[in-house]
């Protein structure tokens, strides 16, 4: 077989791996984003306990290696208590990536909210808005626009970090690529695999550039 035909025969497997990679990336960043909003608000809250809890969370997940977090969630937790066993490697991966990405995104959200002029909060207050209304109608919409670039970045970072899931036995794009490479005794498969990564990254960039344009109408 020549190179091209070999690549074509690998494609179904590569796509399957890419699918796992994409699903973990999108789901964990999306759920992480939701979680991070509460973490950011908690970190900015005047409530001392809530504040420490959220700050501690962010410190922990940003201060320890992602690889270790994955190991710990999948292999470590069951040893503390059997009820903490997560049988599905996919679910364990999802939890690890979601919790980790939430910590990074929370810092971005906090920076985004804090970069908004104090006058916006004051103006909202003088027309009687509550804190929650101010967040919902004034601050978060303005923060969203500023968050689009860092969230786009986070997608691209996670996309590549997902290659770590091989260690708990999941077949993502990197893992599939390595398996093909060793069974076929050639490094050729790395070329289409890397192209797939680049195409996914380019697609993410395209979507986020579009979003940024859309949310910039008022600037």
């Amino acid at each position: 077989m020549n190179g091209m035909t070999r690549i074509v025969t690998w494609m179904p497997q590569l796509f399957k791996g890419a699918q796992t990679t994409i699903i973990i990336t999108i789901l964990s960043v999306a759920i992480g984003l939701f979680l991070s909003l509460f973490l950011a608000l908690g970190k900015m809250s005047k409530h001392a306990v809530l504040n420490r809890l959220c700050s501690g969370y962010v410190f922990f997940f940003r201060g320890t290696p992602l690889l270790m977090q994955i190991y710990f969630i999948y292999f470590g937790l069951p040893q503390f208590h059997p009820a903490l066993t997560i049988r599905s490697a996919f679910l364990a991966a999802m939890i690890a990536y979601t919790l980790n990405t939430a910590a990074y995104l929370a810092e971005n959200i906090r920076a985004g909210i804090q970069s908004i002029d104090k006058g916006q909060f004051e103006a909202a207050r003088t027309i009687g808005m509550t804190g929650a209304q101010t967040m919902r109608y004034v601050i978060i919409p303005q923060t969203v626009r500023r968050l689009i670039p860092p969230v786009g970045n986070e997608f691209i970072m996670v996309l590549k970090d997902v290659s770590l899931v091989a260690i708990i036995g999941l077949a993502d794009l990197t893992k599939v690529t390595r398996a093909i490479s060793s069974s076929s005794a050639t490094a050729l498969v790395y070329i289409p695999a890397m192209i797939i990564y680049l195409v996914i990254t380019a697609l993410f960039q395209l979507v986020f550039n579009k979003l940024e344009k859309k949310y910039s109408v008022y600037e």
Binding site: G119, R125, I127, G128, Y137, V138, E219
Partner: protein, 252 residues
């Protein structure tokens, strides 16, 4: 009836005493203009009235009812929560730098308060917003975003936004100071209209012409104190204190 009255209010920022026993009354229908040098505490006074700053001590009355009594930085007495909220809504505030919500169109800026805070029906809120925009001469900009307006137009929208809550008094903190000179007039003329329609107003401004023409009373502040108070003629023609004389000489 007084709309706002303060009794010996003081405000400290750390060791710096910015307001020193300020007694100010604004009666219904009155236009009171506060003048004074930079750092006198004019903004702090206005911000204390609508609790953007908490006073260190003193009493604030709204429509002759005790709004808040503070001693040594602690609130000792206060209106009930609902009453306090209602009292705060009686005050409209216009800032030097407008602070319009950039994520909302002009119309949305004006109807946000009525819709989300007063919770009136959407159509009614829109009607109110449009009629206020008409009043400040910006009906045709209703669907524009603030960033596409001049400073003078933005400030007129900010006035409409404050009016939309149907306040009993409007507080203005140097509403024209951030504007290019050619845009000052349009904002002052909206303010003059308001005054002539009987709105109670408390304005900090450096526009002495406006003060002369519109004010019922001029208050001169320096170093955190009210040093003089009187009709525009009294203050401008016959200032008593050296500080007022010096200040007026520098601005007139």
């Amino acid at each position: 009836m007084s709309i706002i009255r303060t009794e010996d209010i003081c405000k400290n920022f750390g060791d710096l005493q910015v307001l020193k026993n300020v007694n100010l009354t604004v009666n219904q229908g009155e236009v009171v203009v506060i003048i004074g040098p930079s750092g006198a505490g004019k903004s702090t006074l206005l911000r204390s009235l609508n609790t953007l700053e908490t006073i260190t001590s003193g009493k604030i009355f709204m429509e002759d009812k005790l709004f808040q009594r503070v001693e040594r930085g602690e609130i000792r007495e206060e209106m009930k929560k609902e009453e306090k909220k209602a009292a705060l809504l009686e005050m409209g505030m216009v800032f030097q730098r407008f602070h319009l919500f950039p994520n909302m169109t002009v119309k949305q800026n004006v109807l946000a308060g009525p819709l989300y805070v007063q919770k009136i029906p959407k159509e009614e809120a829109e009607q109110r917003a449009l009629s206020l925009l008409d009043k400040v001469g910006l009906l045709e900009k209703a669907d524009a975003y603030p960033s596409h307006l001049s400073g003078g137009q933005q400030q007129r929208v900010a006035i409409a936004r404050a009016l939309a809550m149907q306040p009993k008094i409007m507080l203005f903190d140097e509403p024209t100071s951030a504007l290019d000179p050619e845009l000052v007039g349009e904002v002052l003329s909206v303010m003059k209209d308001l005054a002539s329609q009987g709105m109670t107003m408390l304005c900090v401004t450096h526009e002495m012409g406006f003060a002369r023409e519109v004010a019922d009373r001029v208050v001169f502040m320096a170093d955190g104190q009210i040093l003089e108070e009187g009709t525009p003629e009294e203050i401008f023609q016959n200032p008593q204190t050296a500080k007022a004389k010096q200040f007026l000489a520098s601005v007139l």
